[in-house]
Symmetry: D3
Subunit: 69 residues, 6 copies
């Protein structure tokens, strides 16, 4: 079912660590992908972002969901 | 400066689209990476997640930050 | 106290599960409501969203707060 | 495709407002549903949350995704 | 109305910038405050966090709500 | 390394509470700061936000990251 989330990155589960309520899942990415970020225009300008820049996409683990067929 | 965010994915900026306040930045991932998700234990169990599963990491664009040296 | 959050959905607590640091709270919605999503324009177009479409609002549990009088 | 997100609320699109980069989508919920929140144990205790309490689930619009078949 | 969100920081609106759909609001903090973060235990250990450390709380603008009486 | 996140608030770690997977970190803010929020234009208008208003910036603990040199 298509979803508005811009980022769906295919990978393989490496480890799962379960707490009482929360769990962490580590996924090894197996395919090249493109990541879309929505940030403020102010941030684009302050960082001087332009095409071709080497950057890092930074994502808090609490923001990542897991989908499995 | 080290940060608690578990996911720092190296890539190259492909396109930038600027609105009046918000912008979207597309980043082409150039290096294999591992993605960490924190989800409920209930979700791990309902999906039957286990090591070796092929999955997708799903991330809303509004949750992705960009870092640049 | 009014808040910018667009979604305030009235319900009744059904279950609470406490971990050491995190907890999950399940709330049974008791009143019809409207949910507002802010997504990229690109997602609206790729999904071909239009008025009258049957859809699902998808929300990660870590993004839901609880307010109580 | 099953997803770890605990909340999938069925509804009908009422209005769509498009900006240059971001859009808002309003969804009228058409079916009773249960909402799961993951919050700190400290918040559960400070609010004195218990089963049967009338509460509000509060969700920022930027955290809501839309899924459509 | 009390809310589970751990962080309520009092301030004064300095500037508001309106786009078609999104807006940014800058708030000058006027009172000392404490900020609570929920991060993975792994991050606490990798950063070697301990009481007394000077740190930065890093928050994406899309995650900040505004409340006004 | 500069990051798009608009909010970097300097403080001192007061307490750390570790669960099995998640942890909470409380940070005492030690320096005046400005907080940037990105909210819907609709919220700005419904709250009647204007420069000089006393408000609260409300942030869920799961959205706060910690950075340390």
């Amino acid at each position: 079912m298509p979803i508005s989330a811009r980022n769906r990155i295919v990978g393989v589960v490496k480890t799962i660590e379960k707490g009482e309520v929360a769990s962490t899942v580590k996924i090894e990415v197996v395919r090249p992908s493109t990541i879309t970020a929505m940030i403020t225009k102010e941030a684009v300008e302050e960082l001087g972002l332009k095409e071709g820049d080497e950057v890092e996409a930074v994502i808090k683990a609490t923001e990542v969901m897991v989908s499995k067929d």
